[in-house]
């Protein structure tokens, strides 16, 4: 599964950081998210899917390999 974020949509709500902190972060000086693992391991799938669902900006895209 590949994870990407549309930075034109991301407003930095950061629900993804709360749901999957191993995959997403907001750097201290930033207002938008950074993907830490674009290809997260299978055990993180549920957390990453929750992150995508919880994004109010619908900015997270998940693509199956």
């Amino acid at each position: 599964m590949r994870v990407t974020v549309d930075l034109d949509k991301c407003l930095g709500y950061a629900n993804c950081v709360a749901d999957a902190p191993e995959v997403f972060e907001i750097p201290e000086e930033s207002m938008v998210v950074r993907v830490l693992q674009g290809d997260p391991p299978a055990e993180m799938r549920a957390a990453v899917e929750a992150a995508a669902l919880d994004c109010p900006a619908r900015a997270i895209n998940l693509v199956e390999d």
Binding site: G12, Y13, A14, I26, P27, E28, E29, M31, A57
Partner: protein, 428 residues
């Protein structure tokens, strides 16, 4: 959510802070004209953007806003004598005019010119409408004076109050651009308040608790639009303009006066809420004005002789648990202004935004934070004039409208979101 660094950046407004520098590019409300009611009246302590100052009105009716502390040895000029064209320190008689210039040092020998080289920090203070406005930034960047409609309509059409709120300005402002809370926190006001009730829009507000938000940037700030279901293939839109950095205007209801706010930092943990109500095309009725004075609508009751709300954090905002249970109000706190103050102050002096879990209805808040930060950095790094400085950006109006479902609200903003003298506002 904001990182700690960005939360600090947007909430600190003292001298030398980036957000403080941004605020110092705008005219901001400093006090109400009623606080300096006549020539040579008592001076008033004013703290804005963490700077302590004294406002006074001299013998010729000129307004001044100067450093609170005497240039001599730092005594407060609040104890001073306002007489014969200046404010005289009660300690040794140094006298200052409205520009902060020392005009007399009585202990100096005759013919001394010492006083000409003594000057206090001073800012312009001008009366527009019933508000005294100041500009605390670099004189070379002073913009034209404000043109918000509530201060440009005739006096009988407008009313302004202010209240002390005990929290940082930004969390108070963010309440003003989050209209999704109205259906919960203020639901009783929509039914009962004399300045709110009787609007068809209230029914839509109370029926649809899941508004869809659309936020659109404009030259001076944002339009924050809340869309709710109306009748037969229509939507009810409530559109709140936010003008940078801290002006919002609540969408109107029926033919009631329309209202809004400025949240002005006193320091980083307190702010003034300047609250206005006006009607664009008619005088306020005696009943409307009295209701505002009595604390209805978005105004409040006060501790006598102060601008502190009567219901405040020291008395738990006079919370009425029985009334909450009965449904007199959603939160048990009486009055729209105090309902807002109670929840916003409860978040702490400066809310920790690193812990927020936000939802789609917070889009206006998020976009405003982005715009504020972008403007702060553009000013700091390149001296860019921020949005909302140009008086053309002030001539906005909120509106409430029912549109066919297929029609975007942005199709009507050019027509109805602009203040036009003598033209009624658009309301439901």
């Amino acid at each position: 959510m904001l990182t700690h660094a960005n939360n600090e950046l947007l909430t600190r407004t003292g001298p030398g802070t980036p957000m403080g520098d941004l605020f110092r590019r705008y005219w901001i409300p400093a006090l109400l004209a009623e606080e300096l009611p006549e020539d040579d009246c008592p001076p008033v302590r004013v703290k804005l953007l963490s700077e302590r100052m004294i406002a006074f009105r001299d013998s010729d009716g000129r307004y001044g806003l100067i450093d609170e502390f005497c240039a001599h040895r730092g005594a407060s000029l609040w104890f001073g004598r306002n007489e014969e064209g200046g404010l005289r320190c009660a300690y040794h008689g140094f006298k200052f005019d409205v520009t902060g210039q020392c005009i007399e040092v009585p202990s100096e020998p005759e013919g001394s010119t010492f006083c000409t080289r003594v000057k206090l920090t001073a800012y312009p203070l001008v009366k527009i409408g019933e508000v005294l406005w100041t500009y605390m930034g670099p004189p070379e960047h002073q913009p034209p004076v404000p043109e918000y409609e509530f201060v440009t309509v005739p006096e009988e059409q407008s009313y302004t109050s202010k209240r002390w709120q005990e929290c940082n300005w930004l969390q108070a402002l963010e309440g003003g651009i989050d209209s999704s809370h109205v259906s919960f926190l203020h639901s009783s006001g929509l039914r009962d308040d004399p300045l709110f009730k009787g609007s068809k829009g209230n029914e839509y507000n109370l029926k649809d608790l899941r508004p869809h938000f659309e936020v659109v940037e404009n030259e001076g700030g944002l339009f924050v639009a809340a869309r709710r279901n109306a009748d037969d293939g229509h939507y009810y839109w409530r559109v709140t303009p936010w003008v940078m950095p801290t002006f919002t205007m609540v969408p109107p209801r029926a033919d009631h006066p329309v209202h809004g706010h400025f949240w002005i930092p006193i320091d980083d943990e307190n702010c003034w809420v300047f609250t206005f109500d006006y009607h664009p095309t008619r005088a306020l009725t005696a009943a409307e004005r009295q209701a505002m004075i009595d604390g209805h609508g978005v105004h409040c009751e006060y501790v006598p002789g102060t601008y502190r709300p009567l219901a405040n954090k020291d008395n738990d905002y006079l919370m009425d648990r029985e009334g909450q249970k009965r449904g007199d109000s959603f939160s048990g706190v009486k009055g729209i202004a105090i309902q807002d103050a109670s929840v916003q102050e409860s978040m702490g002096p400066i809310v920790d935004r690193t812990k927020e879990r936000l939802v789609a209805t917070d889009a206006g808040i998020m976009k405003a934070r982005h715009m504020l930060r972008n403007a702060v950095l553009a000013l700091r790094d390149g001296g860019a004039v921020p949005p909302g400085v140009d008086p053309a950006h002030h001539r906005v109006r909120s509106f409430a409208i029912v549109l066919p479902r297929e029609q975007p609200f942005t199709e009507v903003t050019d027509e109805v979101a602009v203040a036009r003298p003598g033209v009624a506002h658009v309301s439901v």
